[in-house]
Every structure is written in C-alpha cells, then in structure tokens.
C-alpha cells in the first residue's frame, strides 16, 4: 500500500491549519481510513491538544528522526477512533534538528502503513515550512477572507510550485456569510478569482470549533455543527466524491435576487 501524503499549509499564522488537520484526519478515520497525522510545528506543538492527546506523548518527531526510538513507538493512537494516529512535534528542541530529506523518508515510511499521512505545517516560509512540504505529494492551503491571509496564500502557491507541488486546493476558513452579504467581507468567488486555484471547501466562523477545541474533540464528530458538516464535506471531496457546496458556501444569484426582492438582509 502506498498512501497519500498531504500537507496543510497557509503562510500566515493562526488561520486554522491545525484545526483543519485535526478535522480532516478525524473525518477520514471516521470513514474507515487509516490515518497518521504529523505535527511539523516543532517548538509550538498544538495538534496533540486539539485532538485531546496531550497526556499520552512519550516520544516525538525529532526522536524518530534522530533514531532515539522507532516510528511505531512515537505514534499515539486516538482515543475515539481506531485508525487515527498522531506523531507529535517536539516541544523543546530546535527546528534545525530535522531536515527536509529526513521528513521525506519518514513520510515515505509511514505511507506504507497508512492510507493518509497528513502534515500540519507551521506558519512562515522558513525551515519548518520546507520540512513540512518535503514529503508531500498534495497540498491543502488554508486561508481566511482577509487581505493579508490571501496574500500569503498566494505566496505559498508560488513556493509550492517551485517545489514541484502543483495544483494545491484551497480551504477558506472563518467565513461569515452575513458579512459577505453586507459587503463587509471578501466572498468565496472573490478569493477564488484572485488566487485562481481549486476550492476544496469553506468552513464558517463557528463557535462550536472553540467549544470542541476546548474539549479536545474534533468538531467533525459533532453532527449538528455547521463547521463539522463543512469538514465532513471536505473529507469526502478528498476521497474523490463530488460533494455540492453548502448553501452558505455558494451565494448563487437566485438567493441574492430573492433577498433583494424580499428585502431582508
């Protein structure tokens, strides 16, 4: 078996990479896929907390690369699903301890055992970024509807291309449909037009994400959450299914006309 290696990246910090990685991973695992998540944010590890696995860490990514332990020993199994694993980042070690070639070798080793290997990339475009993308064959770019975030996403698209990672797909996170409607926030079409890239999904700005992150449970497991549904759709698109975009994701002309004629915001 040779699994797919995906990297979740953004350029700008705090736009939702870790949240996205956790939810895509958990979502794929719920569909029965065997998934390994790698936290490549060395020194600022977060993915363990978002998944609620912070108390189980013994070894980390740097230990594996330095040969202090075998990969299997460092992998942490998820509490809720049988086929989700996490390889945590080191919290107190230097980023420079890991090199891109080592990451590539690690990803290739893991893809023998897993159907998906998903790498959570740190913010920025330095060493950590280069490490995170080194072993990937597909990239997912996360952005928010803000000028700075989209600008950084554009930069990342260029850098990925330079590293021969073509056709990344975009997730627009934290969209607020009401603000878009009122003309106070860039919409999906605006961003897609500017970046000229394929849309993988749109996740609304949603309080349930904060609640679920507090509890250490990916929101994709919450069937009633809008954000959870959005991640579910994204997961199925990654699986190759043709999933229509949710109504909030697509502001059709018809909805607009209706709204204009009926006169409510």
């Amino acid at each position: 078996m040779a699994g797919r290696v995906l990297v979740v990246t953004s350029g700008k910090g705090g736009v939702g990479k870790t949240t996205t990685t956790a939810n895509i991973g958990a979502g794929l695992a719920l569909l029965g896929r065997k998934v390994c998540l790698i936290d490549a944010d060395i020194g600022l590890r977060n993915l363990d907390v978002v998944l609620g696995l912070e108390n189980r860490i013994v070894y980390d990514l740097t230990d594996v690369v330095e040969g202090n332990c075998r990969v299997r020993q460092a992998l942490i199994k998820d509490k809720r699903t049988d086929n989700l694993y996490l390889l945590p980042a080191a919290q107190t070690k230097e980023k420079e301890a890991v090199a891109p070639e080592q990451m590539k070798a690690l990803c290739d080793e893991l893809r023998e055992d897993f159907e998906y290997v998903i790498v959570d990339c740190p913010a920025g475009i330095e060493r950590g970024f280069k490490n995170a993308i080194a072993g990937a064959d597909e990239a997912i770019i996360v952005t928010t509807p803000e000028v700075a975030a989209v600008r950084d996403a554009d930069r990342i698209i260029g850098l990925l291309e330079a590293s021969e990672l073509y056709e990344p797909r975009l997730i627009i996170n934290r969209i607020r449909p009401q603000m878009v409607r009122k003309g106070d926030m860039m919409g999906i079409e605006d961003i897609i037009e500017i970046l000229a890239i394929k849309l993988l999904g749109v996740v609304p700005d949603d309080e349930t994400i904060i609640v679920s992150t507090n509890k250490g449970e990916p929101v994709v497991m919450d069937k009633r959450s809008r954000a959870g549904q959005a991640y579910n759709n994204i997961v199925r698109r990654i699986e190759g299914l043709d999933v229509p975009f949710m109504s909030l994701e697509e502001e059709g002309l018809l909805t607009r006309l209706k709204r204009a004629l009926l006169g409510h915001s």
Binding site: R151, G158, V180, I194
Partner: protein, 94 residues
C-alpha cells in the same frame, strides 16, 4: 447582464469587501513579479523581438518594470530607439 443586475442590487463598489479585493489584486501584481524575476526577463526578450521588426533599438538600454501608481499598476518600458525601419513591409519581412 446578470453581472449588471448583481452590481445593481449590491451597489457595493465601495464596500470594504470591494476595497479589500482591489487592494489584494494590486499587491499581488507586485508579489507575483517579485517571486519570478525571470518573468520580466522573458517579457523583455519577447518585447525586443517584436519591436525589432519595426525599429532598431538599443538592447542594453532596454528597461521594463512594473510601477505602482495610486490606484493601479502599470508596465513601464523605456526603449531607446536607434533607427526606424524605412517601411512597414521591410519591417514585416525581416
């Protein structure tokens, strides 16, 4: 037509959404060129080839840059001409 309707209903040409979009488009023109100086170089070469059909230019003096003005970005070229070709036919033939 649909676009017109949409514009009419939205009337949002100076909404912060539109402002954000415009600013983004402008800043990206620059960023994208910065990412690949080779793009400007390639453009220069192509320009040279086309213009040479019509006039003789000083290759060393050729300058092509993107300049940013208040609300727009312009391609500014400085092309020193040595000699014009005598006729269009002659130019086309060469």
């Amino acid at each position: 037509m649909l676009d017109f309707l949409r514009q009419f209903w939205n009337r949002d040409s100076d909404s912060s959404r539109q402002i954000a979009k415009k600013r983004l488009q402008l800043v990206l023109v620059h960023d994208r060129v910065n990412v690949s100086p080779s793009l400007l170089e390639a453009l220069k070469e192509d320009l040279l080839e086309v213009i040479s059909k019509y006039m003789e230019i000083e290759e060393e003096g050729l300058e092509v840059n993107l300049d940013r003005f208040e609300n727009s970005v312009a391609l500014v070229a400085n092309i020193p001409v040595r000699r014009l070709k005598r006729s269009l036919e002659q130019g086309r033939l060469s």
